[in-house]
């Protein structure tokens, strides 16, 4: 007994000491916690509160654009751009099918790469976002008011539209380039005749300052290299565009070896102000190229596709002063311009160093004619005459660089899987942090502008391996959020992304959130088949075509009983959502219809086609849980045999 009580006493005493000790520790940790918040606290956006930034992350091979909040990493919306989206009927309904038209016909998919935001005076202005399709070259424009794709323009004389869609500092132009050089114009020749016969084009698309509508102003015909990435000059270098190139060897097979032979490839500096002069002077040729221009009209809720013909082409090898080559080591990928417009960073992806060119030195070298030969008539500037500095041994496989506006640059390294922070001017490495794994692009909000918001940096990874719960052979790709306000970068958050997150663009939420459209006004609806009240609903037969002018409002369709449809008819459901209330979309789906649902926003009209193949009575229903009586939102269509004389009639509640 005595021993037991002693033991109890002793353990109680020890316990007390522990409590004391841990109290002390608690005191310490809470003190340091108050000084620097934990990563969890810094990315936590309390329920009901808003994120600080909208991040628009490319959906890569999904063809779409995703919207995430930063710092939370929450996914808000997937905007369909280049691929079909059955959820939103994009490319399925009659209204949006024209958006995916090209000179090759209707294409249901593409590979979306680089989103970029419109700018005014070198600062992001929150009007539009542009994103490129890599496979069948196109550029799309997305409204930052409706968050919908408003326009897609095809780029002729191009293949692999990778160096795209970057915007100049007053959104004068959005840029496209040719990653895969091709015969221009296309012709039937041997692939072995690549050298000298294949060409690339760099396209400058004029952007209407009011509507945002794009038009191909001109293309610059370039030697048959691969034009990889591009960034606009800004500030002092406004008026220039810089493109990285690889395969200056002009190899047409086993490029991983044959295009890695030259010690240096080029960054091509394009003087687009000069190009404008050449255009004015008529020094262009018009090529009879065919390309689709698709525009979605917000009032008719309908897209139209126009086939355009002919582009103005300037031949770089014939027009001195238009293009200069800056030698840059080992197949440069990223080609990034700092916020002042002075430094052009070339990331030779096979080089052990980062090369930085100086815009001022470049102008001087051009003036002093410090050329080391030429390529297809285009002067090659002397490397030492344009080089500003080199970041020595920063890592392996540099790809892309962004800037924080405070004199620092952040470069991704694919092979060594890290982000490296270094200083402009001293070229000294300040910090490095691992990424998980194999980072491609990175993004700082406002990064491609004169005024970056240097608070967060997002790294976009190509590989995740063991980072998340496994989901079979195909696992997610991811983005990682870093705090870059201190000397050292801090990893705050990992979040999965849709498709491959190539590049992203982010903007302070305060610049656009209050302009976000809530509803479409019914009175402004100019859809040719709009029905603006239940009184106007009707069913019209025109041969085998039956047009249903239908409305939807909580919680019924009008009409919801239709008879007189026959097997073999083409039944058009033209459905108008009569709601004028925020966040009250309705959906509609018809049994056996070989298409997607419609998801119709308040005030909008959309159309799908149903071709009944069987006699009977077939239901349709609302697919978006709209209200307490959503389950009651349904209707029937009677389908009679071909040749029967069931009269056409329609009703709602017997009326």
């Amino acid at each position: 007994m005595k021993l037991l009580s002693k033991t109890v006493l002793l353990s109680a005493a020890i316990g007390f000491l522990f409590i004391l000790a841990s109290c002390g520790q608690n005191g310490n940790s809470s003190k340091s916690g108050a000084l620097s918040k934990s990563a969890a606290e810094r990315v936590f956006v309390p329920p009901g509160e808003y994120d600080e930034f909208y991040a628009f992350i490319s959906g890569g091979f999904s063809g779409q654009l995703t919207i995430y909040g930063l710092p939370s990493g929450r996914l808000f919306k997937i905007i369909p751009v280049f691929s079909l989206d059955a959820e939103k009927a994009y490319g399925f309904n009659e209204e949006t099918k024209p958006m995916l038209e090209t000179s090759y016909g209707f294409i249901p998919w593409d590979d979306a790469h680089h989103p970029d935001l419109s700018q005014t005076n070198g600062e992001i202005d929150g009007r539009w976002l542009f994103i490129n399709a890599n496979n069948t070259p196109r550029i799309a424009r997305i409204s930052l008011r409706t968050f919908e794709t408003e326009e897609i323009i095809e780029i002729p004389n191009s293949a692999g539209n990778h160096s795209s869609s970057f915007v100049t500092e007053n959104t004068e132009y959005v840029i496209a380039g040719t990653r895969f050089s091709i015969p221009i114009p296309q012709k039937d020749i041997s692939i072995e005749e690549y050298k000298g016969n294949f060409k690339g084009t760099l396209s400058f698309l004029k952007v209407d300052p009011e509507t945002g509508e794009m038009d191909i102003a001109f293309q610059i015909l370039m030697p048959g290299f691969d034009y990889d990435l591009t960034h606009p000059g800004r500030g002092k270098s406004h008026g220039w565009m810089f493109f990285s190139t690889y395969n200056t060897e002009e190899a047409n097979t086993l490029l991983e070896v044959n295009a890695s032979q030259n010690d240096k490839d080029f960054i091509a500096a394009i003087n687009w102000k000069k190009a404008e002069e050449f255009i004015k002077e008529g020094k262009y040729k018009t090529m009879p190229s065919k390309y689709a221009h698709n525009v979605y009209d917000e009032t008719s809720h309908t897209a139209t596709s126009t086939m355009k013909k002919g582009v103005k082409v300037l031949d770089a090898s014939q027009l001195p002063g238009l293009v200069y080559f800056l030698p840059t080591p080992k197949s440069p990928h990223g080609c990034d311009v700092d916020p002042t417009g002075e430094y052009i960073v070339g990331s030779g992806k096979l080089a052990a160093a980062l090369t930085v060119h100086s815009f001022t030195k470049m102008l001087k070298a051009i003036e002093d004619k410090k050329f080391d030969g030429e390529a297809y008539g285009i002067p090659i500037l002397n490397f030492d005459a344009v080089n500003a500095g080199t970041v020595v041994q920063p890592g392996l496989g540099p790809l892309h660089t962004e800037f924080d506006g405070k004199g620092f640059a952040y470069t991704t390294f694919f092979i060594s899987s890290e982000v490296v922070k270094w200083q402009l001017g001293t070229w000294k490495v300040i910090d490095r942090k691992p990424t998980y794994y194999s980072v491609g692009h990175l993004m700082i909000p406002g990064g491609n502008s004169r005024k970056p918001f240097g608070k967060y940096m997002v790294a976009m990874n190509k590989i995740t391996k063991d980072r998340y719960l496994p989901t079979g052979p195909e696992v997610c790709q991811s983005a990682q959020l870093y705090d870059i306000t201190g000397d050292k970068m801090e990893l705050l958050l990992d979040f999965p992304t849709i498709g491959e997150p190539h590049y992203a663009a982010a903007i302070p939420a305060s610049l656009i959130k209050d302009k976000s459209q809530k509803i479409y006004k019914l009175e402004d609806n100019k859809h040719p088949y709009a029905t603006k009240s239940e009184k106007e609903t009707k069913v019209v037969r025109n041969g085998k075509d039956v047009h249903i002018y239908m409305t939807m409002i909580r919680s019924h369709f009008a009409p919801d009983n239709i008879e007189g449809v026959k097997v073999g008819d083409r039944v058009y459901f033209h459905v108008t959502n009569l709601e004028q209330d925020y966040d009250v979309p309705h959906g509609i789906a018809m049994i056996g219809a070989r298409t997607s649902e419609l998801l119709i926003m308040p005030g909008q009209t959309e159309t799908f086609v149903w071709e009944p193949r069987q006699v009977g009575v077939w239901p349709f229903y609302c697919t978006d849980f709209c209200s307490a009586l959503h389950q009651e939102m349904q209707g029937y269509i009677r389908v009679s045999p071909r040749g029967s004389n069931t009269p056409l009639k329609w009703s709602l509640d017997g009326e």
Binding site: K521, Q580, D581, A628, E632
Partner: protein, 205 residues
């Protein structure tokens, strides 16, 4: 100085007019604000409607605070079988006439300058005010009780918004309060007895 300049017309008025007369004149003019400002507002707030739906009641018509509010009010109400909000009502014809006539009467009374007339105007206005509120109550009662028997949601209780105050009806917090127009009307009505007493006091003094 700017703020004092605003008072110049008033001091000018004071030179040519007695204070009681100015007050009565003001009292008679204030109800005219009802032609441009709403008299009463009823709003519905619910979890799904963090920004409340709100109807502003004018003497001539109803108006939504946000575009679409009237339609959305009706949409909510139709589930319990309430009739649609009216675009035409007898009151919309009578109220402007009554307000206009009473205002004119008040102006004439003020110009005549008889204190007893001031009191008379006050009593008529007060009675009309009470009648107006009673009429509003009857309208709300009718709307809340005269429900479509085929409505999806059958209420155990009446669906009647309060004339004045806040009430929970199903998922909605319903608020019914006077608006700026009624506030001006109220000030006008209350100014007339003040004018009466000032005049009365002066006569005694």
């Amino acid at each position: 100085m700017v703020s004092l300049q605003i008072l110049y017309p008033f001091s000018y008025l004071r030179q040519v007019m007695k204070l009681s007369k100015i007050l009565m004149l003001t009292a008679a003019i204030l109800p005219l604000f009802l032609f441009i400002l709403p008299m009463w507002s009823i709003s519905l707030q619910a979890p799904q409607y963090p920004i409340p739906l709100q109807i502003n009641i004018f003497i001539t018509h109803l108006e939504g605070e946000q575009e679409g509010d009237i339609q959305n009010f009706d949409l909510m109400n139709h589930y319990v079988g309430m009739r649609k909000l009216p675009t035409e009502m007898v009151e919309f014809d009578i109220f402007p006439f009554v307000i206009g006539a009473m205002s004119l009467m008040g102006i004439i009374f003020a110009l005549v300058g008889n204190k007893k007339l001031y009191l008379t105007w006050f009593i008529i206005m007060a009675l009309l005010g009470v009648a107006g509120i009673y009429d509003f109550y009857l309208w709300l009662y009718d709307y809340g009780h005269n429900l479509d028997p085929r409505a999806a949601i059958q209420l155990l209780d009446a669906y009647q918004p309060p004339v004045f105050g806040t009430k929970q009806i199903l998922n909605f917090t319903v608020r019914s309060y006077p608006s700026l127009g009624a506030v001006f009307l109220g000030i006008g009505i209350l100014l007339s007895p003040v004018a009466y007493y000032i005049e009365k006091k002066k006569e005694r003094g």
